[in-house]
């Protein structure tokens, strides 16, 4: 079973991202589960959403205590707590960050974690225009596909019509592909 934890802010689309990723896994013939972590709902507030997928039906409804993959959609979230604190050793982290990741070396996390960055904010501004909170969710899913190679970006695109009206499909498909192409590994 693979467990994915997505950190975002209210309005950024973290919950939708988790749902799209779960549907993408489902469309590939897997069993999937996705859920948000609940708090008082308000724009800009930290939001966490989870995805589990597996080859067999998923029994647990527990919290995710040790995710295989952590995605951080807003770098400012590191100012509140360390989103990578509970990542599984050998796990994968994908962080929205414009630089080459040199600042990320100071982040404390489990051993052998593979760090990736994606400048999702810049891509989001280009694709969706400038918004108070950049909409980076689907871009991150493309980055997920590139970093993990276990769900295809085509499946993500196939999952999108369940979540977006027809006139928003093209831009979101583009977002997924841009995310896929612009993932950077941090050495």
């Amino acid at each position: 079973m693979k467990e994915i934890k997505i950190f975002g802010r209210g309005g950024q689309g973290a919950v939708t991202a988790a749902q799209v990723l779960a549907v993408a896994a489902f469309l590939e013939g897997r069993w999937a589960q996705t859920f948000p972590q609940f708090g008082a709902e308000r724009r800009g507030a930290p939001v966490i959403a989870y995805v589990r997928w597996d080859g067999i039906p998923i029994v647990t409804r527990n919290k995710v205590y040790s995710p295989d993959v952590v995605m951080v959609m807003d770098f400012n979230l590191f100012r509140m707590s360390n989103p990578l604190a509970d990542i599984k050793p050998g796990g994968t982290a994908i962080i929205n960050h414009p630089g080459n990741g040199s600042r990320l070396s100071r982040i404390s996390t489990a051993e052998r974690v593979r760090l990736f960055t994606i400048d999702a904010t810049a891509i989001a501004h280009e694709l969706y225009g400038k918004t108070t909170i950049p909409i980076t969710n689907i871009i991150h899913l493309g980055a997920y596909c590139a970093a993990n190679q276990d769900i295809s970006v085509e499946s993500v695109c196939r999952a999108l019509p369940d979540f977006f009206p027809r006139n928003k499909l093209e831009v979101n498909q583009k977002a997924a592909r841009e995310g896929y192409e612009n993932l950077r590994g941090v050495s």
């Binding site: 749902q19 779960a22 589960q33 996705t34 859920f35 647990t60 409804r61 527990n62 919290k63």
Partner: protein, 396 residues
């Protein structure tokens, strides 16, 4: 054609209502129930469901509208949570007192304070005396499957009682998982249109329902009829489960589902989504440690399957209830009901109650495993001094 889709428990409830071809849907929003309402309204708006949505100003009015609609002979559905359900409380008695088979999805949520949108079962367990049938389900698929079943149970002339399908907020209502959406033709065959033969309001034959009577008239008799209907509903629940299984290939066990009971010395009994975790723990302890442990998933809290559980548990040494609710001053509501049905002079199993998951606190696999092992150690004890255990209290 049945299709599989990723759905939340809330959407599964909405699909269930659509498949049951509900005709009237009064509702008032409350987290975590709101998406049920939104989805049904969407179905009505886009023409997928021919029903009347009545946006009410409160839950109290919702149940009043549901009573009125059902009394007109319309198949009526609603959904609520927590304080909303408590606000309905008075009118819940009206629905059952007039013997109207309204169906309601109760999306369980803590009754505050302290307030939270997370779940335990305190809101619906609290409604046990309202003469509603209450069935607790484990996952989104069971939510969807149980709504057509609920109508078939409630509308059965042997029953004519309202039915609540209870599922936990957030961890069922907002978890998205694969759900099979039943084939509409097969559901139509399984659940024919509602054709009430009892009292139906008709503008051409005006009448009043539920009016005042005196002590020497018939209240006692009427209540006894409700008791009998509730008793008869046990058979109906089992029959409907069988019929559903025959039609759709999924059987849930009727009043409760018992697994690995033969030869079990300890049985773990729970309800709701916790069943998944407890079942997995029991299976592991049997498979890996060879422990004689059994498992019961209680589905019907009302009617409470007393006789049936007594028969099932008569041979075990200890029965453990894990429940996300408590009647403060006594114990867990399921534990209390189970206690009275095990009141035999001979071979009475030890009965232990674990209060867990209050306020949405996670109940992990390891915790359940520890509970099982603890009770397994105690199974030969002559008596238990602390049968009600607040398991997750820190510092206890």
């Amino acid at each position: 054609m049945a299709t599989r889709k990723m759905l939340t428990g809330n959407y599964a409830a909405a699909y269930g209502a659509k498949l049951a071809r509900v005709e009237v849907f009064p509702a008032f929003p409350i987290t975590p129930q709101t998406p049920v309402m939104e989805k049904i309204v969407e179905f009505i708006e886009n023409g997928e469901l021919d029903a009347e949505f009545i946006p009410m100003e409160s839950e109290h009015s919702v149940m009043a509208a549901a009573v009125a609609a059902e009394a007109m002979g319309a198949r009526t559905f609603t959904a609520t949570s927590s304080q909303g359900l408590l606000y309905m409380h008075e009118n819940l008695f009206v629905a059952s007192g007039i013997r109207l088979p309204v169906v309601m999805a109760i999306v369980n949520r803590v009754v505050g304070p302290p307030n939270t949108v997370l779940n335990d079962l305190s809101d619906s367990l609290d409604q046990r005396d309202t003469s509603w049938i209450q069935i607790y389900v484990e996952n989104a698929q069971e939510v969807l499957d149980m709504i057509p079943q609920a109508y078939r149970i409630g509308e059965d002339e042997r029953v004519l009682l309202p039915v609540a399908i209870c599922f936990e907020g957030i961890i069922i209502s907002h978890y998205m998982e694969p759900v099979e959406i039943l084939d509409q033709d097969k559901v139509d065959h399984f659940l024919p249109p509602y054709r009430p033969k009892q009292v139906v309001l008709d503008p051409d034959r005006p009448m009043s329902l539920g009016q005042i009577v005196m002590d020497d008239t018939y209240i006692t008799e009427m209540k006894y009829q409700q008791q009998e209907a509730m008793d008869r509903s046990k058979a109906v629940i089992r029959e409907v489960d069988e019929a559903f299984g025959d039609a759709f290939g999924r059987w849930y066990g009727g009043l409760f589902a018992a697994e690995w009971i033969d030869g079990a010395e300890v049985v773990l009994l729970t309800l709701g989504s916790l069943a998944s975790t407890v079942r997995a723990v029991v299976k592991q302890l049997r498979d890996e440690a060879g422990l004689p442990i059994g498992f019961v998933k209680l589905r019907a809290f009302r009617p409470f399957p007393a006789q049936e559980l007594r028969d099932c548990l008569s041979h075990v040494k200890a029965a453990v209830v894990l429940e996300k609710g408590v009647s403060i001053g006594a114990g867990g509501p399921v534990f209390l009901d189970l206690s009275h049905c095990l009141n035999r002079r001979d071979r009475m199993p030890l009965l232990i109650d674990y209060i867990v998951g209050l306020g949405g606190r996670d109940v992990t696999f390891e915790e359940v495993r520890n509970i099982a092992l603890t009770v397994f150690e105690e199974r030969h004890a002559d008596s238990i001094t602390n049968p009600v255990r607040w398991h997750q209290v820190r510092g206890l």
